[in-house]
Point group: C2
């Protein structure tokens, strides 16, 4: 993997990440493909949406269909028919948010499956092995994800474990020689001192890029932005930075301005299935009765398939009758919106006009979608 | 609407139906778009599947979003973004199969909505008015659908009502002058005498085409085929014939051989969502464990998007984890299969080799999908 900086504007950067599965132009938004599919979309739809890289969840694929089977079938790219880049998380976040009866020891995480209650064990070494079998372009070390809020003592203890696991992951990854990039994950909770310590210690170990974990878990927005800026300032400028689980439009803009290159978030896809859309002129809840008779698109300025072909009234109807096409068309819109926003940020950085872009973005979003919206 | 016979082979016919929304080459399979969407697919997918005409359900659209709103929004074609032909049924079948507390009088059908229990009334005149508002290319008169089995007396009484309603529908349609084609529906249950009487009386009234209703409701297959042949023999040869609700592959072939031109059925789409696929070499239940590790497509000879890009193992996985993409990819396959079968029948009729085609079809289907299937 190669990362080049193309342009900067303040702390913000435009870059090119070259992977074995194509070039990823940063800033980039990565759609989430939990079970080796971005919900409601196929790989052709992802290409049409401008996706260059998708995220898949190690935890989910470890449970179903199993990493050994995916490997036997030729790896994740072939399995899901996606020839672009893939990033896998380590499974840590899901072990903490989804799994039942988990028990954390120095060795790793024992847990029961959220699907069928069966017992499983993930260690740093196993998490790397699973991700090597899946064959993503970018993989991550197993980390412990703290709930928010946490005491300083709990955060210190957790960070120390995450760092020891990171060192083990790095050794396991080096032994594998798969050519996959391994990102480090900076944890440290909401304490500035611990976040700084986490960033320095992770960078000292040396990874191919750096993820910032444990954000957008309930902490106030200003705190998230400040901690992001703090961590970013301690990361090497010649490597990519990935803010995990963050994807609201405003957060994308704010975090890119602070020097983040990569994002993932389930919101564009999950919200879509609930009829919640992101648009240039603010968010839209398409199930609201006000859209029932509206014979124009969600956003006249949007170039996605959904906005080019369908009225709000039709999308409202599809959602009200729970048709799959409703989930699909709104997912198409939301997954056009987020990559397009990232691409807009990239062009603004290239042209040294990020501040003006961010101001116009905020004004547009605040405008609302008009009397019909 | 214009219908031309292009070729015949025994009782089977190849034809061209010219509508205000394009040409429909018969024999044709019509995907069912209940709520103004063929489940899991958009209009672009329908085109890619070779669909030339889709069916929409008057009953469902009458309830949600309402025919007046669809009219106000520019009609069904514009609403659902489909510029091909559309056929609507009369709502009769759903009033009898879905609605609650229905009460049939000479005037029409009073019923409570299967969605929210609200009260509604459909008369022959209202059913025509609803279909005029929706704006389909081909519409149908309200009919009474008998449950199978029914006594001769019940069938006689029901048929007489259906015929009186047909006459009223015809007058209402003539008064509307919308340019839509109105098909007659031949009922008559399983009694050959009543079926013949129904066919003669319906033809005497004079419609733009003839639907055969009340089939595939539980009667034995040979009976369905015989009754179809009987009715078809009494219909004018220069008008299209539509066998309502029939769409299993074997039934398509058998009915085309008996002179049917048009079909609709929810099976290709409903089965798809349950992981039940039609293939050249027999049906496949993709959820079965045998497909878990199969790294080749459903059918190597199929040209659909799904078969060109994905393994059985991936489809099996998507179904097991209940991903929307699973429903979508299998729907794409099934809705490629049925129109392709109809197109194959058409070419065979054109070449005067229907019998050989039917024999090869039966042999292929009986072969099964091999040790991996």
């Amino acid at each position: 993997m190669k990362f080049e900086l193309v342009a900067t504007d303040g702390a913000a950067r435009a870059g090119r990440l070259t992977t074995a599965h194509g070039v990823v132009e940063t800033p980039i938004f990565m759609p989430v493909g939990t079970h080796a599919t971005v919900k409601a979309l196929g790989p052709d739809d992802l290409r049409a949406a401008g996706a260059q890289i998708v995220l898949a969840n190690t935890y989910h694929l470890f449970l179903r269909p199993g990493h050994d089977l995916v490997k036997e079938l030729g790896g994740l790219h072939r399995f899901m028919g996606w020839d672009g880049a893939i990033l896998t998380d380590s499974g840590g976040f899901q072990v903490f948010s989804l799994a039942k009866l988990r028990k954390i020891t120095e060795a790793g995480a024992e847990f029961r499956s959220s699907v069928d209650g069966s017992s499983h064990f993930l260690s740093p070494e196993i998490a790397v092995e699973v991700q090597q079998a899946l064959g993503a372009d970018i993989i991550h070390p197993l980390d412990e994800c703290l709930a928010y809020p946490a005491t300083r003592e709990a955060t210190e203890r957790s960070l120390a474990l995450t760092l020891r696991w990171a060192a083990r992951s790095k050794r396991a990854h080096a032994a594998g020689a798969t050519g996959q990039a391994l990102f480090g994950i900076v944890q440290g909770g909401t304490d500035e001192g611990l976040r700084s310590e986490a960033a320095r210690a992770t960078v000292d170990m040396g990874f191919d890029g750096y993820a910032i974990g444990g954000m957008a878990v309930g902490e106030p927005k200003p705190m998230m932005y400040d901690l992001t800026a703090l961590v970013v300032g301690l990361l090497p400028s010649n490597q990519p930075r990935y803010l995990m689980g963050v994807g609201k439009p405003e957060d994308l803009v704010a975090s890119v301005a602070r020097g983040v290159d990569m994002f993932d978030c389930v919101l564009p896809t999950r919200n879509a299935r609930n009829g919640h859309l992101f648009t240039r002129f603010g968010d839209v809840r398409i199930r609201n009765a006000v859209h029932r008779t509206v014979n124009h698109p969600l956003d006249d300025t949007c170039e996605c398939y959904t906005c080019r072909h369908f009225s709000r009234a039709y999308l409202h109807h599809l959602q009200r009758v729970n048709e799959i096409l409703g989930a699909r068309l709104i997912t198409i819109h939301n997954l056009h919106y987020s990559p397009a926003l990232a691409a807009g940020l990239r062009r603004a950085i290239d042209d040294d006009r990020l501040q003006a872009f961010a101001a116009a973005f905020a004004a547009d979003r605040a405008r609302g979608t008009g009397p019909d919206g």
